[in-house]
């Protein structure tokens, strides 16, 4: 019964997003643009003869970016809305509903993300197919990649919620969101896989949650390895447990600070 309620919320979120399909397609324009720029970059570097990473040529690097940027731009942007709900106090109306606020946001997030993801997969695949040809990917591993991507999106949700719920204590969470997006960019491996990084930076990135949102599913897509898959899934589930615990903890502390004055 409980799960069905949240599934309904996701479905409504998905359908309401389809009403703004042009907005979603506009986001895909930027996705296609950035892929085009990186096609130029990776093919130029590969052609120079100086830039070689074992097993990863221009084709793999472009498909790697199809996955990382697909996740980065495909994730629903709930942070601004959550931040405003907390700052304006409108959260008081939402917590009165017969569902948990955090789980409600999780359901909305997935409904919105799903549509963006479907469109991004189509646009990204088209650009990469035209530019560098099909990926060297065994379809037998598709399920594992999808599992890793689902966990990556879920981990992102809890990270973003932690940042947004900080609005209970600070005036503006936007600067934290910038830093979060840049940490995803650097330690998440948005533009380049960890194989390009110096060993110390790659070790640091693997010890933190960011690489499990972007690098992990993309690496499995371009170079699948069963042992790596299990290591990644264990780390993703572990980080989700930590961040979910933190999110519920922050929410519990935050709602005690809500003061409702007037109507």
């Amino acid at each position: 019964m409980g799960a069905a309620r949240y599934l309904s919320i996701s479905r409504i979120s998905f359908r309401s997003r389809t009403a703004y399909i042009m907005d979603v397609l506009a986001g895909s324009f930027f996705y296609a643009l950035i892929l085009f720029v990186f096609v130029q970059l990776w093919t130029t570097l590969a052609g120079s003869g100086h830039f070689a990473i074992e097993g990863l040529g221009a084709r793999e690097l472009v498909w790697y970016m199809v996955v990382t940027e697909g996740i980065m731009l495909g994730r629903a942007r709930i942070e601004q809305e959550t931040d405003e709900e907390v700052k304006t106090g409108s959260i008081a109306y939402l917590i009165g509903r017969p569902c948990h606020y955090v789980l409600f946001k999780f359901a909305v997030y997935w409904g919105d993300t799903l549509l963006r993801l479907i469109i991004n997969v189509a646009v990204g695949s088209l650009v990469a197919l035209i530019a560098v040809g099909p990926p060297r990917f065994d379809q037998a591993h598709l399920l594992q990649v999808v599992v890793s991507a689902v966990l990556a999106f879920s981990l992102n949700f809890f990270m973003v919620m932690c940042i947004s719920l900080a609005a209970f204590w600070v005036e503006d969470t936007m600067p934290f969101r910038w830093i979060y997006s840049k940490l995803l960019f650097i330690l998440g491996g948005l533009f380049a896989p960890m194989e390009v990084y110096p060993a110390a930076v790659a070790r640091l990135a693997r010890a933190l949650p960011f690489s499990y949102m972007l690098y992990a599913p993309a690496r499995l897509f371009v170079q699948y390895d069963t042992a790596l898959f299990w290591r990644i899934v264990v780390a993703q589930v572990g980080w989700i447990a930590v961040m979910a615990g933190l999110t519920f903890g922050l929410y519990g502390l935050g709602v005690k600070r809500i003061n409702v004055n007037g109507g």
Binding site: S48, D172, W178
Partner: protein, 273 residues
Amino acid sequence: MARGKARAGRIGFGEAVSFVCAHFKFNLASAMEYRWSFASQIVLMAVNDFMLLFFWWLIFSRVPDIAGWTFRDVITMQSVVALAFGLNVSVFGNLHRIPQLIARGQLDYYLLLPKDPLLHMLVSRSDMSGFGDMAFGIAAFMMFTPVSWQRIILFLATGLAAATVYASFVTVAGSLAFLMGNAQTVGAQLAQAMVTFSGYPGSLFKGAVRALLYSAIPVGFFAYVPVELLRNFSWLLFAGLMAFAACSAIAARALFRAGLRRYESGNLMTVRA
């Protein structure tokens, strides 16, 4: 009616500068009321920009150049672009909201006052994160590229020219709302394209794309020509950049004024306190 108002809105350069400064001082004082927000936006935007250099450091630790562009060239480009972009969002904070203001009929307020409506609209808002961009641009240029008085002056001059090119392009893109009604998506995409292409070496783009980047989407004048000037100065190229910036500003203002003739006032009541 609008034509008459447009003529009335013409002001001299000196008057325009003092008008912009007065508005900026007011916006700054207003933003400083929220000190944490003000300070964190600036500091963290600068940190955010420095983090962008990490990717290029990774690439250039493996290759000496990308089709002729070195790490120093990329830092120079990022510095000029950050200075120009930061200047625009902190002084012309409404720049990216032009389509929205037109579509919602919110230009009425500016049309009723005796100042240039475009300039007045642009300066009516400030985004303080622009200071962080400017701080990054100046710091990165001073820290990672050779410094001399001539280069600093050239950096500031090319930064101003780049800011003018960017503001003009975004104004023209936003003015499409006079023709299309809702041009928020198109305007945002064109601005996004300008910023995206300005983050990567110009030598990556060839043929038709390169031609596009020096014409319809003038990233070349926004990001690549300043780098070329700071690498190998030439009076001819410098004059070309300045002329392009001046012409684009004149064209943007003229197009906006032409668009005003098609503007339809809204019945939305707004209060500016």
